[in-house]
């Protein structure tokens, strides 16, 4: 490990440790998937504290307010942050998704309007892609955007679903159909919309955890300003796909440190409650630890791989690999907890959260089934599914 990276790690630790031991102590290891509904106001404060310390948007170019870290430095940052128990990032959709998209595709006006709020931790974003009748068929967008010829603004009607953190956010980016009668990938527009306006309603979705971190967002004539279209009308699909490309970034190593923390809790629990004496549990704990090690090597391969714009095999298989590893970790957590796993003491404990919430990992952002299709078709060159006849029962 280079001296530069080592010093970055030390700098972060020096900054983070006292804060997580002091004022922000209750946030340690909190937030993140399965725990997103926790401590909203405090985590927003934390985002601003991060910004004051210069630790937000560390991978962004300096001209946009970032720190301009190299890939290796970003890896070190995310790993160290998560290792020390840094709270789940309320700002990750701004920092990781829409920010990079605006840097790549936004107008200078859009960049000036939106990037500073993301960097400062004062404006929060959520994502409006999925629709109730689309599911895995992401291009089946039915939300409509109609331009007012007078103002140039777009009026939006429709419904988005599985919108994480909508209730804590200020803005949403929305994929909508701007060419009536168009189908699939064509005729879509990528809009930036304020959530606090008439014609927007946010309804939380209660999950199997009993908590809500996903929402439905209803649009009934809400407005996107003329200047808040990213790319050209009709280019929505291209922008949306590019944005998803930013998701597979270095932050995956931070996610892995969260996993490592969960595994550590699990090992401790197994030692305390005697489950560590059960041979099958021992073997599964070992397998989980080795599997996590392999996920880390996989992520490092992704970063070391040729930067040729293609998704290589290790990248194509990564979502399937980590989500199924994590779901299995959740099952293992339930089995280690034993009958006590069914008992709730006030709120779900961390391992119960992992057990229940990991069920969503193999569903969102491309179900297992979609991932396997992608792998088979893109990596192995197997034929695409034949289109059905008019009567598929025939």
């Amino acid at each position: 490990m280079s001296e530069q990276i080592e010093s970055l790690r030390r700098e972060l630790a020096d900054w983070l440790t006292p804060r997580l031991a002091g004022q922000f102590g209750q946030l340690r290891h909190r937030g993140g998937p399965g725990d997103e509904d926790a401590l909203g106001a405090e985590r927003k404060e934390w985002e601003q504290e991060l910004a004051r310390g210069g630790w937000s948007c560390v991978g962004w170019p300096t001209e946009h307010g970032g720190r301009g870290l190299t890939i290796a430095e970003q890896v070190a940052f995310h790993e160290e942050y998560a290792r020390l128990g840094g709270p789940g990032r309320m700002g990750h959709i701004g920092e990781g998704l829409i920010g990079p998209t605006l840097i790549a595709f936004g107008t200078p006006e859009q960049q000036q309007r939106f990037l500073p709020g993301i960097v400062a931790g004062t404006e929060f974003w959520c994502q409006g892609y999925s629709e109730p009748n689309a599911g895995s068929d992401l291009a089946n967008v039915q939300t409509r955007a109609v331009q007012d010829p007078a103002t140039g603004h777009w009026r939006v009607h429709g419904q988005k679903v599985w919108t994480s953190l909508a209730h804590e956010s200020d803005w949403i980016f929305v994929l909508a159909r701007c060419e009536p009668g168009s189908q699939g990938h064509k005729g879509l527009i990528f809009l930036l919309m304020k959530l606090d306006q008439p014609g927007v309603e946010i309804r939380p979705i209660r999950q199997l955890t009993g908590t809500s971190e996903f929402n439905e967002v209803f649009f009934d004539g809400a407005i996107a300003e003329a200047g808040h279209v990213v790319g050209a009308p009709g280019d929505g699909w291209k922008i949306a796909m590019a944005l998803l490309g930013f998701e597979r970034g270095v932050s995956t190593l931070g996610q892995q440190m969260h996993f490592a923390h969960e595994l550590e809790l699990l090992v401790d629990t197994a030692r305390q409650n005697g489950a560590a004496k059960i041979p099958a549990i021992r073997a599964r704990l070992a397998e989980a630890a080795l599997g996590l090690k392999v996920l880390r090597a996989n992520a490092l391969r992704m970063m070391a791989g040729a930067d040729d714009g293609q998704l290589h095999r290790e990248a194509l298989s990564y979502k399937y690999a980590w989500s199924n590893w994590h779901r299995e970790l959740g099952q293992l957590a339930a089995d280690v907890l034993g009958p006590d796993g069914d008992v709730i003491d006030g709120e779900l404990n961390r391992l119960q959260q992992v057990y229940l919430f990991s069920r969503s990992d193999t569903i969102y952002a491309g179900t297992n089934e979609i991932q396997l299709n992608l792998i088979a078709e893109r990596a192995l060159g197997l034929p695409r599914e034949p289109r059905p006849n008019a009567n598929p029962k025939g």
């Binding site: 599911g135 068929d137 199997l208 034993g338 069914d342 569903i363 089934e369």
Partner: protein
């Protein structure tokens, strides 16, 4: 060993299905969850006019004198419809334990009332919960003249709050062979309800601190093997409920994938989805074979060793089916499978909770391996 679903059995199953599909639908189940885990109305009818509690109790004790097979058919439907009532605790756990391990006096005193549905009952088995391999662990029995003094705690006592009879397993020494069973008066029990993920099968912790019981509170006559037999029967009945959970997850999911359209076709037309559901059905059918086979063997009268093997096959195979089917129900429902509103999570949580009751698959497998390999491991 009779595995035939003859007319009588079909009638029992059909009647249970008809009743529960009407009286234990999703809305009623959720209402029961909010009301402490018991659907009082359903339970009143089940225990009363339907007479389910007496189905497997001998005629001499006022029951119908049918077998574990018939009880399993009811339990399968209870699983399918997520019955929120103490049928398992009363008729599947307490009753067979009394029938197998109780003295004549105990059986004559308790079984007729259980058969008539006049009492709800449960069993406090150990500090580790409903663990058949740790019976009496954590609860100590002492003697004072003719009286007994009980001290200790039991966890995960199912449907304990409001039970008319709590049977407590306690040991005179560390030795499991020294386990005895006691009838605890309702007012003597210190019960702490525990909030659970599966809100339809509430459990409580029982603590006793030198509680004095008269000699006649002792239920068993010191035959440890009889306790094992009773618990093996209970495990088979629980496996039947897991079978029902698995089956309903499969049925719910088949219906959903036929309805739900993606990419211009029902998702149930995708071969990957079809195969996953076919694999689920293979596991469900294995669970059904295991449960029906075990129940029929138990009814035919088999050795204690064979009964242990029968219980092991039913419990491990039904656990696996229920967990797999519930996992796949969530997965194949996609996003909505993950919501509170849809039912898959109710099955998922119950299947997981049950997998730890009356012996985990790991524990049963090791028990079988020790027999198979004739060692103690």
């Amino acid at each position: 060993m009779n595995l035939e679903l003859n007319q009588d059995r079909q009638m029992i199953r059909g009647a249970a299905e008809d009743f529960l599909s009407a009286y234990s639908d999703s809305a009623k189940v959720r209402a029961a969850h909010a009301a402490g885990g018991i659907d009082a109305e359903a339970w009143r009818r089940i225990a009363g006019e339907l007479g389910w509690c007496g189905i497997a109790i001998a005629e001499e004790h006022g029951g119908l004198g049918l077998g574990l097979f018939e009880l399993a058919l009811l339990q399968e439907q209870a699983g399918r419809f997520l019955l929120a009532a103490p049928l398992f605790a009363t008729a599947c756990l307490a009753a067979p334990l009394l029938a197998e391990a109780g003295t004549d006096a105990a059986r004559q005193h308790w079984l007729p009332a259980l058969a008539a549905g006049e009492l709800t009952a449960t069993v406090a088995l150990s500090a580790r919960g409903l663990d058949p391999f740790a019976v009496g662990d954590g609860m100590y029995a002492g003697r004072d003249g003719d009286d007994y003094l009980l001290t200790g705690r039991c966890r995960h006592v199912p449907h304990a709050l409001g039970a008319d009879l709590v049977i407590v397993a306690a040991r005179f020494s560390a030795n499991v062979e020294s386990t005895a069973l006691f009838a605890l008066p309702a007012d003597a029990a210190t019960l702490t309800p525990l909030a659970t993920l599966d809100q339809g099968r509430p459990v409580a912790e029982l603590r006793l601190n030198g509680v004095r019981l008269p000699a006649e509170a002792r239920l068993d006559d010191g035959d440890a093997a009889a306790i094992v037999r009773g618990l093996s029967r209970a495990a088979i009945a629980l496996a039947a409920e897991q079978l029902g959970l698995a089956l309903q997850c499969l049925d719910l999911t088949v219906a959903y994938v036929l309805e739900r359209q993606q990419f211009g076709r029902p998702i149930g037309s995708f071969q990957a989805v079809k195969h996953r559901l076919a694999e689920t059905m293979v596991k469900v059918e294995a669970a059904r074979s295991a449960v029906y086979g075990a129940a029929a063997e138990a009814d035919a009268g088999i050795s204690d060793d064979e009964l242990l093997l029968a219980a092991a096959s039913a419990k491990t195979v039904a656990d696996a089916a229920a967990r797999f089917a519930a996992q796949e129900a969530i997965q194949l429902h996609g996003g909505v499978g993950f919501t509170w509103e849809y039912d898959p999570h109710l099955y998922f949580k119950r299947a997981q909770a049950f997998s730890h009751w009356l012996g985990s698959a790991d524990a049963w497998r090791e028990r079988v391996a020790a027999k198979l390999l004739e060692d103690a491991a």
